[in-house]
């Protein structure tokens, strides 16, 4: 029996994963959620910003990983628009421009924010490090127009924004190593405050920056998005996502424990 279990067909595991994803979605389960310290820090930082402040959001993720950072983007933008904080969007990833445009338009419509007054999407430019350094000198030298082609000089909310000196926070929503570049070239050189929202697989890499204060706060995958949604009291994709992820995690833990029990019993049998 244990030998059979150890050699279980992987298609059975696949079916179990499908069920662990679908069933919680159908049942619409709500799990109790505590807010972790890194999420609370980011929320507090944004919440304490006065109205008319400006935060920059870097949408540094592509279609393959947007499921985790997108709920973070939605939650943070809702919080910003509710508080009257202006949002400047951009990306260092050519695949992310349309994703960023979609999410900014969606939340702006929901909150009644106006393009050019409450938010603007600058778009994408080649060369991540050059773009980060260039904006420290002058944003208009890198992005002469926004994503729709409107010159920055014609955009009301950009009238008083020249470079990072007028940006209160850069939030990098990332699925890769862009945060290292933002910290090295924008935080260290220009003193820009940086927060991060990253996919679960790279979150452990962010802790040194969090401890040194180079990151003001950190959102960790679906969990971070769900916690932020809880803080702004607006359930969304993050809470729905973490409920599904919870059961897949539970399944994987269960499979590992089961596999190890079977492994030990099998070993005992072979020895004795």
């Amino acid at each position: 029996m244990f030998e059979k279990l150890l050699n279980m067909n992987r298609q059975i595991v696949f079916i179990l994963v499908v069920l662990a994803v679908i069933i919680p979605m159908l049942l619409n389960i709500r799990l109790p959620l505590a807010v972790s310290e890194p999420t609370q820090k980011l929320y507090d930082y944004i919440d304490e910003l006065p109205s008319e402040s400006t935060i920059m959001i870097a949408f540094d993720y592509g279609p393959s990983s947007f499921a985790e950072p997108e709920p973070m983007a939605e939650a943070v933008m809702k919080h910003c628009f509710d508080k009257g904080i202006k949002v400047v969007g951009l990306t260092l990833d050519p695949e992310a421009v349309t994703l960023a445009d979609n999410v900014m338009q969606k939340i702006a419509e929901e909150k009644g924010a106006i393009n050019g007054i409450d938010y603007v999407l600058l778009g994408y430019r080649e060369g991540p490090i050059q773009v980060i350094l260039g904006m420290g000198v002058e944003i208009a030298s890198v992005f002469e127009s926004d994503y729709t082609g409107t010159p920055l000089s014609d955009i009301p909310m950009m009238a008083d924004i020249t470079n990072y000196d007028q940006i209160d926070l850069l939030l990098d929503l990332a699925a890769g190593t862009s945060i290292d570049a933002w910290i090295t070239f924008a935080n260290t050189k220009y003193g820009l405050k940086i927060g991060a929202g990253v996919t679960g697989v790279i979150v452990s890499e962010m802790y040194p920056y969090l401890q040194t204060g180079q990151l003001v706060g950190l959102l960790s995958g679906f969990l971070g998005a769900a916690e932020y949604e809880k803080l702004i009291d607006t359930p969304g994709k993050g809470i729905a996502g973490i409920n599904t992820v919870s059961f897949v995690h539970l399944l994987v833990v269960g499979l590992v424990v089961l596999g190890n029990i079977a492994f030990f019993i099998q070993q005992r049998k072979e020895q004795g």
Binding site: M8, R10, V13, F14, L16, V17, V21, L31, P32, A34, S36, E37, P63, S64, S65, A67, E95, V97, T98, L99, D101, R125, E126, G127, Q130, V131, L133, G134, V137, S141, V142, Y147, T148, G149, G200, V203, S204, Y207, P208, Q211, S220, G221, L223, A226, I242, N243, S246, F247, V248, H249, L250, L251, V252, V253, L255, V256, V257, G259, N260, F263
Partner: protein
């Protein structure tokens, strides 16, 4: 000459950029700003080179009938269709947005989603407490996984209700991330940074020349 000029340029710009870091003088900052602007102009040429190399590589695959050469036609189809819409009409054109939202996004999301299936299957097969190191890794991974999701707290509290650690899984996960994980990661960052500095010095001084293509000769 083909080697000397790039080496001299590399040395000059490398030294100048280092010096501007240590001087807040207006002239120094003006030089810095100017060079940053130049790099913004130079960088897009790398993209042109990248596209040319991609086309060259896949054209050669088709000509040589290498393994899976048929897929190279898919690469060309993708480049031509997206460029034919995106270059003249821009990325806001409905056809470009439709192709992105309905072809690229689902394909990318599907590739990433497959990971869940393979990770679950691989964890079941390979994650075994065969020795002390593997057991430590296994226990750490299970605690972090349980602490990462709300249902982990619920299950842990039920299973460990008899013990003094009944409500500690999130704290345990945070401690692992804040201490052993942070220490190891910081060591890696320091190592990478020191390596980066030494490699940069070698490039500026012309000791490391592999970027000129053709090795160190």
């Amino acid at each position: 000459m083909k080697r000397q000029v790039p080496l001299i340029l590399c040395f000059l710009f490398g030294v100048v950029m280092i010096l501007t870091e240590f001087s807040p003088h207006a002239a120094s900052q003006s030089v810095y700003n100017e060079i940053v602007n130049w790099t913004l102009i130079v960088w897009p040429f790398a993209t042109v080179l990248a596209v040319a190399t991609l086309v060259q590589t896949h054209w050669a695959r088709i000509q040589r009938r290498s393994e899976h050469w048929q897929y190279s036609y898919v690469v060309f189809a993708g480049i031509i269709v997206m460029a034919a819409i995106g270059v003249p009409f821009g990325m806001k054109h409905p056809a470009f947005e439709w192709l992105f939202n309905n072809v690229q996004v689902p394909m990318g999301a599907t590739m990433f989603s497959l990971l869940a299936f393979f990770i679950a299957s691989a964890a079941f097969r390979a994650f075994r407490a065969r020795n002390t190191e593997a057991t430590l890794l296994l226990v750490t991974a299970l605690i972090v996984m349980m602490g990462n999701v709300p249902v982990g707290d619920l299950v842990w509290n039920e299973v460990m209700a008899w013990s003094p650690w009944s409500d500690k899984v999130s704290e345990a996960r945070q401690w692992i991330l804040d201490n052993p994980n942070l220490s190891a990661r910081r060591g890696i960052i320091l190592g990478i940074s020191l390596g980066g500095i030494s490699q940069s010095i070698r490039i500026i001084l012309g000791i490391e020349r592999s970027y000129l293509s053709g090795g160190d000769a």
